[in-house]
Each structure stands twice: as C-alpha cells, then as structure tokens.
C-alpha cells in the first residue's frame, strides 16, 4: 500500500452498543490487516489491541487520522468515548449498521428502558427469585464507590451524538468495503464529506437476479414456512423482503442465499424512511380488494415494525415508540 505522507497513519477502532461483528469483519480482511499494520499505528482497538481511554485523552486534537466507530450509542460510556474520539479524529466513520442507522440494538426503541430492565433483570423466568438485582450507575462496596455507565432511555445512531464524516453501511460491512475505506484515507482520495462509502446508489432489488412477474399474493410466509423458488422474487412468493427500500452494494448476499433482504445497508438513496417504503412495497403485493380479507392476509405479517426497521429504527422519521 502506498501512502501520501511519510508519517504512519494513526487509526483507532471502537465499539459502542454493538455485537462485535464489525470488529471481526475488520479481521476478515485477512492478510490485508498486516498491510494496515505496516502503514498505520493502531492506537486503540478494544477487541484486538491494548489502548486506554487515558491514552486517547492525552492526544492532541485531530491526532488520529481515522476512527472507525461501530455500534450505536445507548449509554454514557458510548457517548463519552464517541465525543472523545471525535475530538481526536480528523476523519470519523460511522462503521456498520449500528453506528450508521442504529442497528439491531435500535429495536430497543420500541420499549422503555424500564421495560427492558424489568425483562432482563427482574421478571425473567430464568432468574431466581432471590437474585433479582438491577445494575446501578453507582454502588458502594468495602473498597469504595464503583461506577458503571448509565443506560440511556433509548438508542441513538452515532450522528445523533457527534458529527460524522462518512458512513460505511452493513451488518457487518464487507471486507472489500473496509479495504476501500482504509485505502481512501491512506491515499487521501476521500469522497464528499457526509457520503455513504463502500456501497451502491440503487436498491438491492436493482441488483437482485430474481425475476419479478407483477404477481400478487393471498398469503405471506415466514422463510421457514415455505420451500421457495430460487428464481422468483421473494416478495412475490409471500416472503417479506426489504430489498426495495434498501441501499445496494452488498452483492445481494441474502436473497442469493435464499433469505430475504433484512435492510442492513439502510435506506436507499432518496428514501427518507426505510420502513415506510417497506410498508408500501409489502402492502402493494396483496391480492385483494376487500378490507376484511386484506386484514386477514396481514395477520401473517406478525411484526411489521421488526421487518420495516430491523436495522434502522433510530434513523427512522419517528425514531422510537412515543
């Protein structure tokens, strides 16, 4: 890899509310990661290297050339580190679906923090009655006061908290995308600020090889309920697919593997609300002119919120349950 400057690139990778898959995706670049190590100092990467918050705090502002931040923001630590890294970073990238549009953790915006705590710590059948404790931001033990981050009332996408230079979509982003971003920063060939990089400019449907027949249907199926035809549009077979509202660039990996698109690349260009477009597409496939029958057919779509915003509830227009 050729770089423009003599100085090694200073980069950091960080995770907020995330599963760790984005970090693993970076490792999926295989030997390329060694090229990265050759041209860059990885100053922080919690999953793979050492690096303490105090080391980041000690840096000059703008000292980091690139920060890849994966994960949404849902507690005080996520926010603190996001703001800290933003100050230190020349280029900050919202990396992966959670940072980009809220991701799977964003589905928590359907319920309140109290409901989540109740389910997770208090009234869960697998918790023993004597063991129902809720984590508190501060607790006192013999050695003194202990602190943990404060959970927020809802989940935020990263750019709700700090300004972001680029977005790399995907759950997780593909190795080729990751290489592309690193190369762009290394060579200084950066696209317009604020753009989505490493993805397409159309919908997943536009890239999908399956055939559409303008067929309508009387019944929806979950993917496991039907043996589907590998050549025909999944939606036309009654399987709810997010492809029509989702940004292209993934290589249509899910529909090519006989699974519907779940929408992890976020809204397609010029789509303001991914879920609203999915609602529109799903409803348009129904073969009925009778409101009662339409209602019955829709009984087979048990969780439209989950389908419409599997990865993007915090980035939707209404963002959360009111």
């Amino acid at each position: 890899m050729e770089t423009t400057g003599k100085k090694k690139l200073q980069i950091a990778l960080y995770w907020g509310a995330a599963c760790g898959g984005c970090d693993v995706a970076v490792l999926d670049t295989n030997e390329f990661i060694l090229d990265v190590a050759a041209i860059a100092d990885i100053r922080m990467w919690p999953i793979a290297t050492d690096g303490k918050y105090k080391d980041i705090e000690a840096m000059e502002d703008g000292e980091l050339d690139l920060v890849l931040f994966n994960g949404a923001v849902r507690n005080s630590e996520n926010e603190h580190v996001a703001k800290l890294l933003r100050r230190k970073a020349r280029v900050m990238v919202a990396f992966g679906s959670c940072a980009h549009i809220g991701g799977i953790p964003g589905l928590a915006n359907q319920v309140t923090k109290e409901e989540i705590f109740d389910r997770a710590y208090l009234n869960n059948p697998s918790i023993e009655p004597g063991n129902r404790t809720v984590p508190l931001p501060e607790s006192h033990v013999e050695a003194g006061a202990l602190e943990i981050p404060t959970a927020y009332k809802r989940v935020y996408k990263l750019d709700d908290i700090v300004p972001i230079d680029y977005y790399v979509p995907g759950c997780p982003p593909l190795p080729a995308q990751i290489k592309g971003v690193l190369l762009a920063v290394a060579t200084g060939q950066l696209p317009a600020r604020g753009s989505v990089v490493g993805a397409g400019h159309r919908t997943v449907c536009d890239d999908c090889r399956r055939t559409r027949h303008e067929r309508k249907i009387k019944k929806f199926y979950r993917p496991w309920q039907i043996i589907q035809d590998p050549e025909t549009c999944l939606l036309e077979q009654g399987i709810v697919c997010a492809g029509s509202a989702t940004r292209s660039g993934c290589g249509v990996r899910c529909p090519n593997s006989n699974m519907p698109c779940r929408g992890c690349y976020g809204p397609a260009p010029n789509v303001k609300d991914q879920g609203a477009k999915i609602v529109s597409a799903v409803a348009s496939i129904i073969d009925s002119k009778d409101p009662a029958e339409i209602d019955r057919i829709l009984e087979d779509v048990p969780d439209i919120m989950g389908y419409a915003y599997r990865f993007g509830l915090p980035a939707s227009m209404l963002q959360r349950r009111i």
Binding site: S76, E79, Q110, T150, Y152, K153, R154, Y156, D160, K272, D273, G275, A276, K277, V279, S280, V282, A283, S284, I286, S288, K289, P291, I294, D295, L298, V301, I304, M305, A308, S316, M317, L318, Q319, R320, R321, I322
Partner: protein, 147 residues
C-alpha cells in the same frame, strides 16, 4: 366544547378526482365545518406514500386524514385499492410507534359528498381534540436534550 382550547392541526391528503372535489362542494354549498384541516391535493389516494403520513406527524400534525374515491370509482381504475392495502399495514406500524388509532384515518369521499366530507372532518376534529396534541415532536426534542 373542549375547555382547554386545544385546536388540533390535521393534514388532509385528498385525491383530486373525488375527495378534493367533494371538499370543494362542501365549500360552494356553504357547509360549515371545523377549520382544523389543512388540505393537500394529490392526484390519487395511491400517491400517498406512508412517508407522507410519518412526515406530517413528525412536523407537528396532530392527525392525518386520507381521502380517496369510493372503491370501484377510482379515476385510475385501481389506485384507491392500493391505498386500501397500504392503510391497514401502516396502521399496524403506527400502533407499534404508539400513535393512537384515531390520529390517522382513511375515508372514501366522492365528489358529490360535500355534506359527508364536512361530517368526516368534524368527527375527526372532535376525536383528536379529545386525544390532545400528538407527542412526537416534543418526545424527540426531549430525547436530544436529555438522555
């Protein structure tokens, strides 16, 4: 009468061929009805993307009324059936968002139903007055001010 003086803002998406003409008839017939509806004319009820409804709620509408031709009467033959199919799915989504049922309504109003149009607007206005203001905007502003 409501004593709190709350006057809801209701956005009405009216199809050009039936409902907008129906609203026009209400006007030319000098029928009095609630002034809370802000009308947006669309060429067909099928044009009303669910995004429009979410955007209206986000920008401060307390209610959204969708009006189209009666089933079978669509100027474009099938347009209102598309609205008919979208509406129940959108309602399920709005329910998951915690938006009360009465805030978004679909009604078929023909060009000759000026009286009915006025009644629909009056009824919906009373329902939304009873519900109070839509909380979307204040809730999202609160989210950005306090975690």
């Amino acid at each position: 009468m409501m004593s709190n003086g709350f006057e809801p803002k209701i956005v009405g998406f009216l199809c050009n061929w039936c409902s907008y003409t129906g609203a026009d008839l209400a006007g030319t017939s000098r029928i009095k009805y609630a002034t809370n509806l802000r009308v947006i004319r669309t060429m067909c009820s099928a044009r009303i993307d669910p995004t429009f409804i979410l955007k209206a709620l986000l920008e401060g509408a307390d209610g959204v009324l969708i009006c189209g031709c009666h089933p079978g009467d669509c100027h474009y033959v099938e347009g209102n059936y598309k609205a008919m199919r979208r509406y129940p799915l959108l309602k399920r989504l709005l329910d998951a968002y915690g938006i009360e049922n009465e805030r978004v309504q679909l009604e078929w109003v023909s060009a000759s139903e000026g009286r009915r149009f006025a009644e629909v607007v009056d009824r919906m206005t009373e329902q939304i007055k009873a519900l109070g203001p839509c909380k979307v905007r204040t809730a999202l502003a609160f989210d950005m001010a306090e975690r």
